[in-house]
Symmetry: C2
Subunit: 337 residues, 2 copies
Amino acid sequence: MSGTNKRITFARSPQGLPTLEDFGADEVAIPKPANGEFLSRSIYLSLDPYYRNVMKNSQIYQDRLAAGDVMVGETVAQIVESKHPDYKAGEYVAVRNGWQQYAVSKGDGVRRIDPAVAPISTALGVLGMPGLTGFAGTISLGEPKPGDTFVVSAATGPVGSTAGQTARLMGARVVGIAGGKEKCDYAVRELGYAACVNYKEGDLAANLKTACPNGIDVYFDNVAGDTLVAVIKNLALGARIILCGMIEAYSMDKPPAGPWLGPIVGARAIMKGLVVYDHVAMQPRLQRTVGGWIQSGQFKYREDIAEGIEKAPQAFCDLMRGKNFGKSLVRIGPDKV
Amino acid sequence: MSGTNKRITFARSPQGLPTLEDFGADEVAIPKPANGEFLSRSIYLSLDPYYRNVMKNSQIYQDRLAAGDVMVGETVAQIVESKHPDYKAGEYVAVRNGWQQYAVSKGDGVRRIDPAVAPISTALGVLGMPGLTGFAGTISLGEPKPGDTFVVSAATGPVGSTAGQTARLMGARVVGIAGGKEKCDYAVRELGYAACVNYKEGDLAANLKTACPNGIDVYFDNVAGDTLVAVIKNLALGARIILCGMIEAYSMDKPPAGPWLGPIVGARAIMKGLVVYDHVAMQPRLQRTVGGWIQSGQFKYREDIAEGIEKAPQAFCDLMRGKNFGKSLVRIGPDKV
């Protein structure tokens, strides 16, 4: 295949929150697949807060970025040319193409997508890694029981909305935490939460107390920071806290202090660290279960889609400032050609 | 019984670490037991860090102290006169007489002591509430397995030495954290720990890394603060942290911040709050098991005994500064009269 391949590149490690100057752009020839490889065209790029950590070039992730390297990231793509025995042209896959229009792959870590289950974009959201994080973390670590009060932060994002709706469908009373009235209204109206607290207004600990009069049995933590401090003041006896995301700290050079843990003792609470890679074996269960809930209308999701690969840096900067509403995606090409 | 009863009283809530001026003393008549009560003479007074929290008069404990009230606390005592149907003169009991030579009791919360099992003073230490804390916390929450590295802070105190020796007798490799060479030598030589790190010397996180080359599987935390921060940097995958004591914070008006929890996620670790009152049903198992280990010589303990009730305030101030070495007790009267 001939033509050019637009790419967004890494320019430098951000200072604090990322800015447009931390990225570059270029255009190169479309690569050609060797034997055992396939070429795919990117359709959707997933934007995820952990990229900010990758841009630190610290020891946490395997990826290392030099100035001019294409930014790493997961995409939904369609195979356009295949010299790989297991894949053929036309198939849809979830593949780490990075922030570019075309890439070749040897098939490692590639997941085939069935467009009949749900729109292909969901493979990066509620049916992808974020969804698996929320689903497996809730089922395997949070273990909400009927009657439990289940609180989730970043409650309308792909991780939070999967955690919250899974808990609701397990019989728990779900209370979201989100930024702004619009997100909170959506959480109650569309996601079926019993309540949603706007952390930007008033005293969060006091508002959580009102929303959770019997205390918090499970907290699915996507943000840490002051939100975690407020939750810890409202724990029920035997509470479980799932530590999952710490978005605020991703933009810091030095990790901040954490919450005073005294109430953890008083509540006989349990805090557990969640890493999604431990739970990849649950991916088929996610497809089957959440895919089924989507088809039956019991499970909703929302996407925030920027149009065109050129918009990816701005969309990522918005995401890190909490300006997105739903799963943050960039449309790089049309679903079908 | 006639005569006088020396008492140490509460004078005021301390500012920061307690001082002698926070206590008073007086002498009153020995009380007389009514029907359904017994009179006992105190032999040992237990000194415990949580008294500092009681002296805050906050909402944490039921006890409230006004100036001139006798200080609350647990004692080992011998009954001298009984109008209670279940107790007779001469019996030894663990009873909350407070900081005084004599008191009457209705029998609530009283535990009979068998002097044949171990010296009666142990009913306030390794066979009392501190021992139950270390024993039940290790067995039920820490769950060390053979080959695990089990770290315990305040490692030579009654809670820490019971936790550490229990873990050792469950097959774990035990590493203590203590203040000073003398305590560390004792921990290795007498308590059978594989190693003991002196937190007063050098970089604690680095020294723990040396002492725990395979990481820390279980941490029994009696102190929180900087020690917890250092431990969290050295967790093995799947580590369990038992949050038990936070001695530093007891002398603070406002709770301090806690540790950065990022490594909890990376290690897929679990933190659990421990409150001993949940585990009182294990008291008979403690007597039988740790009592048996003491008799067979597999389990050691150490007591730091101040002589005479007048010394109680100074001994408590020393305890809160980590100057004690072993279970802090005050001898108020002879074992036998």
